[in-house]
């Protein structure tokens, strides 16, 4: 029997452990489908062109239910960041010093995405020296396919 929802964690042997996978909802699913193709896209209103994130059924600006997915350049700046320390889920605790960042997108600074700053698309979550993290630092999106088969955007420093 095929499960109708993806597993909440990736616990396949050799995956390096139970990192949480995105659990998409109906509105968010296209974001992950585009990410799997290496495209960073944000939901936009087909009526008034306003970008919105997180995706939702209706435009809060003009109440249109028609939407499209606008491709973004993948460039942005760090808006904020944290360095989580234990107690954490084991898969994250095993990567001490990892960061979680918020990126404001260059074309739409009010659209901000949570992610990780890494040295390469497939590098560990703690591959960047925490001392390199700065609010305002320019970053660019890359795409990493998690061992569970889900592709997520990650971020590299523009000036490593």
């Amino acid at each position: 029997m095929t499960p109708s929802v993806p597993p909440a964690t990736d616990n396949r042997p050799g995956s390096g452990a139970d990192l949480l996978l995105p659990v998409p909802d109906d509105d968010g699913a296209p974001f992950w489908e585009y990410a799997a193709r290496g495209e960073l896209r944000v939901q936009a209103c087909a009526g008034c062109d306003a970008l919105r994130f997180p995706p939702r059924p209706c435009c809060p600006n003009c109440r249109s239910f028609a939407a499209r997915w606008q491709r973004m350049s993948g460039r942005g700046r760090i808006w904020s960041y944290v360095l989580p320390h234990p107690p954490l889920l084991p898969a994250y605790a095993e990567q001490p010093g990892y960061n979680a960042i918020i990126v404001e997108l260059a074309e739409a600074p009010r659209i901000r995405l949570v992610g990780n700053l890494v040295t390469a698309a497939d590098a560990p979550l703690n591959s960047v020296d925490p001392a390199r993290l700065r609010i305002g630092a320019p970053v660019k999106a890359v795409f990493h396919t998690m061992p569970g088969g889900v592709t997520v955007p990650r971020w590299l420093l523009e000036r490593p």
């Binding site: 909440a8 995105p22 998409p24 994130f53 997180p54 320390h85």
Partner: protein, 383 residues
Amino acid sequence: MGPTLKDATAIAGIGQTPFARQLPESEKTLACRAIVAALDDAGISPSEVDAFASYTMEETDEVEIAKAIGAGDLTHFSKVGFGGGGSCATVAHLAAAIATGQASVGVAWRSRKRGSGPRPWKNTQVQLPTPGQWTRPFGLLRPADEIGMLARRYMHEYGATRDHLFNVALACRNRANQNPAAIMYERPLTREMYMTARWISEPLCLFDNCLETDGALACVVVSAERARDCRQRPVYVHSAAQGLPAQHHGMVNYWNDDPLTGPAWAAARHLWKGADLGPQDVDVAQIYDAFTPLIPLSLEGYGFCERGEGAAFTEGGALETGGRLPLNTGGGGLSEAYVHGFNLITEGVKQLRGTSTAQVPDAATCLVTAGEGVPTSALLLRS
């Protein structure tokens, strides 16, 4: 103008269990003990209770509680969402019900074994699709991480420092040191302890985070007229408000024009509109403190200072006894007990009765707030 809530109802009784990292009794038993104690404090028989209010996260329900304490027929019961954001709204819902004749004796309660129970964020199976899909995979796992993001940005924008957050932690700890019921009674905090503490989510350290506590509390709400015949001095619900601002996203409030303007601002606008008083008239405040940065944000939101000045407000002992705004005088969630902010309500009542362990002389008005950073609520109490 129709009927208003202003001073129409009062808190006539409060009750609580001991607070500890681990209590042997069940949440249901603890809830019953706190409720029976609150009714006894008011001098009202449990059989007169006809209304209940609690949090959606409360796991003891009205059916079980009502039959255990021997309540009468219930004609009003409500639950408020968003965790600690619902604390003050439980009292507000009872006040509204009583002021409009839907009930006459209301009990609000919270019973929680957070100290010995599971950490909610560990259950990855209840990872909500929205907004969990946008945050959890990246290791933004816990409320401390989510608020840490806002704290880092706040520090960046306004020059707030860890010393400002320490001021908050210290004020709460100092009051807990005076409160024998507090978990941190007789356990002083120093600046060195704070500055060398382990990180939880940098920029937040251990002492920026609330306690993990087992315990239960309750309060009894009746009409102002009835309260004047009760055993204790009435503490009037002068004004009350909930707040869920436009385009708010909960604790991950990253996706709007101004993420640092949170639910406190929305609640405050309505709270002061319904009051004869303003921030300058508040003698003592109980401000929700699951995390220290919520205090500067709330000070701004409720109008004690301008935007960006909340951190500076904490300087010079402003939050200590005798300061500009004595804060969390029982020790708060940081140092008395973390029971989703309900102990802030009961401490507000103690201040206005004149029975706090860190009594502000002649306190006549107290602001109590619920969790900032999530859809919230607030009460303005007066004696």
